[in-house]
Structures are given as structure tokens and as C-alpha cells.
Symmetry: C2
Subunit: 274 residues, 2 copies
Amino acid sequence: MSAPNLSMNLATVRKQYGFAEAVEECLRQGITAISPWRDQVQAIGLVEAERIVRANGLRLTGLCRGGMFPAADAAGRQAAIDDNRRAIDEAVTLGADCLVFVVGGLPQGSRDIAAARGMVADGLAAVLPHARACGLPLALEPLHPMYAADRSCLTTLASALDLCAALGDGMGVAIDTYHVWWDPDLEAQIARAGREGRILAHHICDWLVPTTDMLLDRGMMGDGVIDLPKIRRWIEAAGFHGPQEVEIFSANNWWLRPGPDVIATCLDRFHTVC
Amino acid sequence: MSAPNLSMNLATVRKQYGFAEAVEECLRQGITAISPWRDQVQAIGLVEAERIVRANGLRLTGLCRGGMFPAADAAGRQAAIDDNRRAIDEAVTLGADCLVFVVGGLPQGSRDIAAARGMVADGLAAVLPHARACGLPLALEPLHPMYAADRSCLTTLASALDLCAALGDGMGVAIDTYHVWWDPDLEAQIARAGREGRILAHHICDWLVPTTDMLLDRGMMGDGVIDLPKIRRWIEAAGFHGPQEVEIFSANNWWLRPGPDVIATCLDRFHTVC
């Protein structure tokens, strides 16, 4: 059986597995694309992570994550830039398709979201030359507006694409169904993203009703209300045919289940729902 | 002392007071504008509520709320239309500035948000002639996207204004800082709302960090991260100078405090923060 066009974001099984064990179970179930988080790479070490990736011919649909640029003072903003340069190096070492950015919210004590957005643009401009020199695309992931204060002042696909246009080559977007499904402008902005050549990643999970936790109650595909096939068709029509990356934060459900079951369920739902 | 340019949405003190008691305390503290909810009116009776409103020369900045149009079958959609006609009659009886609409989310079992939006447009079109005949403006309140599934498929001010334009005269918007503060297009859309003559109401409360409940953890002005004066200036520049209406759902904080303290705090923060 050929590998499904699915990538496993390792956050989905972060409570069950370390990097090596997650890869082992993915491979056992026929999955050859993954997207790890930096802390998961760090835990095993970049050298060993790279070895596992190369030895198994894994595709990395992204490294999660860069970003978190806004800070209350210049030293904090510079520290974020420095850390993002390291993230770029790690993504390059691992051969990732892109580095995914969660750009950050308001600095401590600030109510100025326009200023935060400016810090994000400045931070990206500071690291972009390094990414370009390395040939690594940077993927802005607009997050759901409920994270605007503390995680991402970038709240819409339209504004992410505007920022890409302002920054130029080497920038793109990661489109995550969870974050954008509510957007009345979604179809038009996905088409625009395609026209502008910006789609770098396609993340999937579902919106549960009710949602009991704003961060850690994301749903398995099919358990919520997002029309995943419709959004997939829009993304494919826009020219992106890369793997759909399953990313589910689920403290009280999927993170508590046996890893093999979670991965098997992702595969099953991918084939039947997405 | 003249009355402040503040309206008390009675949801803010719904656990402390019935309609009559809430009005009494508002008047005692110099507040002469309110916005009640239909269940609060129903509990005292429409006739008595109207008597209290007229006897005290109260301004009603709105009646909350119409809407909830989408339903899984035609009978459910017709029931919603019928109920909205009654809501219009109640708002007219009370002399409200407008009827505020929370339009509704996805029907049970549906993943088709475009269809839900169509049901909203159809429902509004069905009741608008009655509202026009009564001279009552209908105020669409776009809600925060985190309510897209279960409360409001209308998630942005831009899409609310598009819907107003499609429906025509007698339609407008209620701009609630809690629901729209994250929107990168907010300043432009408020200006547009002014140009198109659509601003009917200005609701205020604050976004807390962290937010511990998606519905009932809204913040008192000044306790969160919304730049309320900036949004007020945008709304004033767009030509709306009506009262700012304080609407705070707060199950674990403000709803537990003595009513006079809550109202006094609203007034104090209104003068010092907004």
C-alpha cells in the first residue's frame, strides 16, 4: 500500500511518544510524512533527529514552530529574532518543507495590537534573509481570533497574505482548518493564496461543539463541524496537493489514548472524512 | 450631574436583579439608558416593562435579542421567523432604538456554514418588511468567530455590512468590542459602517487573558487587553455618538458581586478607561 497523503504532526501524539517512537509507529502504519515540534527534536537531539529522518526517507511537511516576535522591550524582541534564526537552522538541518510560524500576541501589558503586528513584520524581515539564503520557506499560520491576545495577532488568512506580499519571496502560509473555517472570506483567500503562490502547508483537525478548552480541546476529523472536504477542494483548486497534516491538541481525549489507536484513527478518518 | 453616555445592558446584572430592580439601581446611579433581554422583559411582563420605561423616560439602546434563524427543517426556520416578528413587536412596544440580532450558528447536524448564512439572510428578509413598517431598525451583531458553530455564523463586521447592503434599508450593525477587537480590518470596516449609515449600537466589555470560559468570562472594561478608547474614537469618527452599552457575561466574577458595586464599577471604568 502506498503512503497516504497524510502527515502526522507529532503534537497529536506528544503525550504518548517521543520523536523516535512516534516515527516508528507512523512508519509501522505506512505514514512517511511528519511534522515535529522543536521541543520534540530537542529532547532527542537535532543530530539524532536528523539521522532518523534521513535513514527513513521521511518527508517533513514543516517544523513547528517559529514566531512569538512581540515583546515589551528591544532585548526581548532581539531574543525572539535570535531564536527564530536557530529555528531556521534546525528546519534546514531536518530538510523540512517550511518553518511554521505562530507569530505571537500582545506583549505583556500592551493593548496595542497594531504595534504587535508591526513587531511581527519587523521580526520576520530580520530573519527572512537568513531563510532565503538557506532556501527555507517561512509559513505564516494565521490562528483563530480567540488566540489574538496571547498567541497570534495574525488572525486571518487575508492579513497573513498581506504580510507575505509586504515581505516578498520566501514567505507563504500554513492553512489550518481549525483556525480559519469560520472565515466568510475563506474561499476567496485560499484562491488568492494559490494565485500568489503562497500555500506551504495544509493542517487539519476539527472544531468540537461544545469546545471545552480554548487550546487543548481540538477534535479528530469527523467529530466536529468543519466541512473538511470542501476546504480541501478549495486548497487543491488553488494548486496545493501536499500532504494534509493532522494536528490535534486534545488534553482530555486523544492525548490520553494509546498512540497506535490515535494514529490508526487519524488514518481511518483521513480516508473516510477528509 | 448629567447622565453619562452609558447604557446598561441588563445581562451585566442578570443574576442580581430583575428588570424593575435593575432599572431602579441604574436610575439611583444616574444611568437613564438600558438594554434589556427578552427573558428579563418576559419575567416582569411586557406591559409592566413598558410602564417602567415610559414612567422613567428611559432610553432603550436596544432589545436583546432576535436571530437564531438557522434550523434543520422548514418548520424550525418558520418558528424562528415567527419568534423574531414577536421580538420586533416587543422592541417597538418598549420604544427600543433597535432590535439586536445574534443570527444563529449551524443547524443541528450540519457542517454547511454557507447554508446557515443563507438561512440567516432568508430569515431577515422575511421579517424586515414588518420591522420597516414599524420603523424599527434591525442591528446585526457579528459575534466572535469562536461562536461560529453554535451562536453566530456571522463572524465579521465586513460580512455583517455586506448582509446589510444586500437587505437594504432598515438594517444596521451593533459593534461589540469583545467580538471584533481582533479584526485586522476593524478600523476600515467601522469607517465603512459609518459611510453606509449602519451603526446602530456600540457595546463594550473587555477580553481577559486568560479567558477561562468561552461564553461567560467576559471582562470589565480595563481588566483586559482591548484598546477601548481607540475603538470608541473610530466609532465616533464614523458618526455614531450614542451611548456605549456595557454588556458583561461573567459567571464567576461580576455576576457574583453585589449589583450596586457592579454598576458603580461600570460607571467608574467608563469614565476612567473608555
